[in-house]
């Protein structure tokens, strides 16, 4: 089992969710986060003073999946988030291994609980 953590642009959340549902991903946890990578921040203005906000709004997705799903999930996320050849700030995908999953209601464990 794998835990896929994805950072994306907020405007891509809906199409990513739709794409992942279509390929059989049954659950996603989404969080509004702030962060920066190569894109750095944006310039804002307050009472005439310019300042750079280093952290931009992003969405973090946490997706628990089986090993067989990994490749398809990554392809789908890239397809949905790399639009018009891709831009700085489109985000990043982190894949890590997942030791155990337990569904609280039934007590199921492992891939069945994903």
């Amino acid at each position: 089992m794998k835990m896929v953590t994805v950072i994306i642009q907020p405007k891509r959340l809906e199409s990513v969710r739709e794409g992942l549902s279509e390929i059989g991903v049954t659950g996603i946890t989404a969080t509004e986060v702030k962060g920066f990578g190569r894109q750095k921040g944006q310039t804002e203005l307050y009472r005439g003073a310019e300042f750079v906000v280093e952290f931009l709004p992003k969405i973090k997705l946490e997706i628990a999946i089986t090993d067989e799903q990994v490749e398809q999930v990554i392809e789908t996320i890239i397809a949905k988030c790399k639009v018009n050849g891709g831009n700085i700030g489109d985000g990043k995908i982190f894949v890590s291994s997942l030791e155990q999953v337990i569904r609280i209601r039934t007590g199921e464990t492992g891939p069945e609980a994903v």
Binding site: K34, T43, E44, L45, E54, F55
Partner: protein, 404 residues
């Protein structure tokens, strides 16, 4: 003794006019809060900037030339100082100028979240300098329509401006929305409407209550006098009917939303209150309180249907429902007058409504198209995604993530 009585009446009427004008000015705050509550949070600072900017523009343009165009009185208020017939001339300007700002406020909500700020401001300049004053000169100003006919010959009657102010503002808004198009993502590929929730319903509710309060000035002040038994009675009745109609609008919208959607929808109740107020504005002087409640209630029903039809069927994206509240219900308000005022006819009201709509919609459309060609009307897709707070104002209304 007689002169002292006159001075007392004069002072009291002038004082009344000014206080009512200040109440109408407060409606600018109501529109600001209503619109700030009904847009998404990333567009809040910009809509507030629009609201305070348009208020100032309206006041300045009407002072420069608009008032002269509508009523005479001289460019730059040349002839306005000094004594009027029964109240101070300057108090008349003050009362009229806040109505111009109200008409312009109606536009800002309908074009929210996607229009370029300065395109909007330039529209506001022309609208409050020329488009609204010309329409006002044909109605309250008593001038002929381009020398062709005079609306008073048809018995057109619009007490405080269901048509002259509210429907006119909505006609300009409709023209703007048609040139501008819907917000990005408002309609999916199949054309289904998708809800874009207002970010702050407490603010929208506060705004509605402020507008309700300001409306006592809007309608009550339009009696134009209070310092006689007759006018005091008229003012009291207008206050009662204005309040009754708003209440009727809320109840009708609440019940219809509950019956239709299964749940009570707060935003529809808020729009219902405003619909009741717009509906009674053309004739708050003649109905009984019960009839005023019913006129408001019909407005409350119309506004719910109109919002749904505009949004889902006609694909006209109006984030705050301004076109339905002020335009569709404004027309109903004009047509409701003959029900209780036997001097007024449906035909006369229709001629007046058509005249106002054709002029304001036509002139506004031409102006929006011109502005689109000259300076662009819409922010880019990326700017719209990020929110116009950042792209137009460079700031956030709710900067919650602060690192230092």
């Amino acid at each position: 003794m007689e002169n002292q009585l006159f001075e007392l009446q004069y002072a009291l009427d002038t004082f009344y006019f000014l206080v009512m004008g200040a109440l109408v000015m407060w409606m600018a705050a109501g529109f600001s809060m209503l619109e700030a509550g009904l847009v998404r949070s990333k567009n809040t600072a910009e809509i507030l900037t629009k609201n305070i900017g348009l208020y100032a523009i309206a006041c300045t343009m009407y002072m420069l030339y608009g008032y002269d165009l509508m009523y005479g009185g001289g460019v730059l208020l040349d002839g306005i100082s000094g004594q009027g017939e029964s109240y101070s001339n300057a108090s008349d300007f003050y009362f009229q100028v806040v109505f111009v700002a109200t008409a312009m406020s109606i536009v800002s909500g309908a074009v929210a979240e996607r229009m370029k700020l300065f395109t909007f401001f330039i529209f506001a300049v022309i609208f409050t300098l020329i488009i609204y004053p010309i329409e006002g000169s044909w109605t309250w100003g008593g001038q002929d329509v381009f020398g062709l006919f005079n609306l008073s010959d048809f018995g057109f009657y619009d007490f405080a401006g269901s048509g002259i102010v509210h429907m006119a503002g909505a006609a300009a808004a409709l023209a703007g929305v048609l040139v501008l198009g819907p917000r990005k993502g408002k309609y999916d590929e199949k054309g289904n409407s998708r809800p874009m929730m207002g970010a702050n319903l407490p603010l929208a509710t506060l705004g509605t209550f402020i507008l309700w309060m300001g409306w006592f000035g809007f309608n009550g002040g339009s009696v134009l006098a209070v310092a006689s038994k007759e006018s005091a009675d008229a003012v009291a009745m207008v206050f009662v009917n204005t309040n009754a109609a708003a209440a009727g609008g809320v109840i009708a919208a609440l019940l219809l939303a509950k019956a239709w959607f299964g749940k009570v929808d707060l935003t529809m109740a808020l729009n219902g209150a405003l619909a009741g107020l717009v509906a009674i504005t053309a004739g708050p002087d003649t109905p009984s309180a019960l009839v005023a409640t019913l006129i408001g209630a019909v407005g409350g029903l119309i506004v719910v249907f109109s919002i749904v039809i505009l949004d889902r069927k006609l694909k006209i994206d109006d984030p705050v429902g301004a076109i339905s509240v002020h335009g569709v219900v404004g027309l109903w308000g004009l047509l409701a007058v003959p029900l209780t005022n036997l001097d007024v006819t449906f035909a006369g009201q229709l001629v007046g409504a058509a005249t106002i709509f054709v002029w304001v919609f036509g002139a506004s459309s031409a102006l929006w198209f011109a502005l689109k060609a000259i300076m662009g009307i819409r922010v880019t897709d990326d700017e719209e995604d990020a929110g116009v707070d950042i792209s137009e104002c460079g700031m956030e209304a709710y900067p919650e993530f602060v690192t230092k």
